[in-house]
């Protein structure tokens, strides 16, 4: 981790800290990359599920529309992922702003480690919520008499599945982000 960071520092044309006695370990280049990835993932997840409209003509019932806001679980999912997207913008800016001030960044790393896990809880619960409902929509549930929907609304289901996959990726990114913060904090402990 330190070596990639070392390289990133040279790329930016900054003064390179000698690796023999690094005063502060900085993984902010990796941190910013992951945060941008988180932003892209949460925006993709929200866009994919919001655009998942499908109207079908069903015999007897007439015209029926499938939309994400028909299910509360999907509404929660959209809200949670939007919050994650907003959070990623704010923290990317924060991360960029401390690039030149390593003294400040130790405190920031602590905040990051905690908030990342908090947002991880949010995104994981949203993925679980939407995933739980989507699974029933895909497979159906005979005991409760809930019919499966995906054979009728195939396009809708594809959008939801794509959105879920991306939000799962966002959860992984959040886990990595909190690990990175803790790792950096850990490597700054004076020996």
């Amino acid at each position: 981790m330190a070596s990639t960071d070392y390289k990133a520092d040279t790329e930016r044309g900054k003064e390179v800290v000698p690796p023999a006695a690094p005063p502060t370990v900085n993984c902010f280049a990796a941190d910013i990359t992951l945060r941008v990835l988180l932003f892209v993932a949460s925006v993709a997840a929200v866009v994919s599920i919001v655009t998942a409209n499908q109207t079908k003509i069903i015999p007897v019932l007439g015209e029926r529309e499938a939309k994400f806001n028909h299910l509360k679980a999907f509404i929660y999912f959209v809200v949670a992922l939007s919050i994650a997207g907003l959070y990623s913008i704010i923290t990317t800016l924060a991360s960029i702003s401390v690039l030149s001030k390593p003294a400040l960044s130790t405190k920031l790393l602590l905040y990051f480690a905690f908030w990342d896990v908090l947002v991880l809880g949010l995104v994981a619960s949203a993925t679980g919520t939407a995933g739980g409902v989507a699974y029933v929509g895909w497979k159906g549930e005979d005991h409760a008499g809930w019919a499966e929907l995906c054979s009728t609304y195939d396009k809708f289901c594809h959008h939801v599945a794509g959105s879920l996959a991306v939000s799962l990726f966002a959860s992984v990114v959040l886990v990595l982000l909190s690990w990175l913060s803790i790792y950096t904090l850990h490597s700054r402990i004076p020996k």
């Binding site: 509360k72 409902v133 809930w146 803790i182």
Partner: protein
């Protein structure tokens, strides 16, 4: 002074871990014993009197509840394991501390996704959904639903306990890494 401080901090960590273990275990047990059988009248032919059929609600029938169960079992076994590990190395094994942090953050994700999935299914069972024609179930299986709700809530609290553990190790590392200045 320093040693006492360390012991107290370690004590708080152990207490939280114990709490997380107890919460996830209780949630798993509550879900595991959850079963309700009801005699439901089913009308097959409108001219005949309704047929009375016993119907059972079990946690195994819903995949979301199975997922919650698995998540709870994994989290409580992990809590015991990490409890033992951190008990044996109170002095501060650095690699172990990082490993436990990694585990704790994974448990946060696991427990929150599990309780989220079950909460979503529980909400559909409680309210029904007229758009997709999913009937509500909780008007028939009231006590079953109440127990599932309790289990979801307790497992969420277990997730919060792991979250606090994460905050805790962050604080500890921060204190140690900023000591030089």
């Amino acid at each position: 002074m320093e040693g006492e401080n360390k012991a107290r901090r370690g004590g708080c960590d152990l207490l939280l871990r114990l709490l997380a273990f107890a919460l996830t275990l209780v949630s798993a047990i509550l879900l595991g014993v959850d079963k309700q059988t009801k005699i439901v009248p089913i009308q097959i032919v409108s001219s005949l009197p309704p047929l009375h059929v016993p119907v059972t609600a079990k946690w195994q029938y819903q995949s979301a509840f199975v997922y919650l169960m698995v998540a709870n079992i994994i989290a409580s076994s992990y809590a015991v394991l990490s409890l033992l590990l951190s008990f044996t190395s109170m002095g501060g094994n650095n690699i172990l501390e990082l490993a436990i942090f990694v585990g704790d953050s994974l448990m946060v994700a696991l427990l929150f996704s599990g309780s989220g999935a079950s909460a979503a299914i529980g909400l559909v069972a409680y309210e029904g959904n007229s758009r997709v024609q999913w009937q509500k179930v909780c008007n028939v299986f009231g006590s079953f639903c109440a127990k599932v709700a309790a289990s979801v809530l307790i497992s969420m609290l277990g997730g919060v306990a792991f979250m606090l553990l994460v905050l805790y190790s962050g604080l500890r590392l921060h204190k140690r890494s900023s000591r030089t200045k």
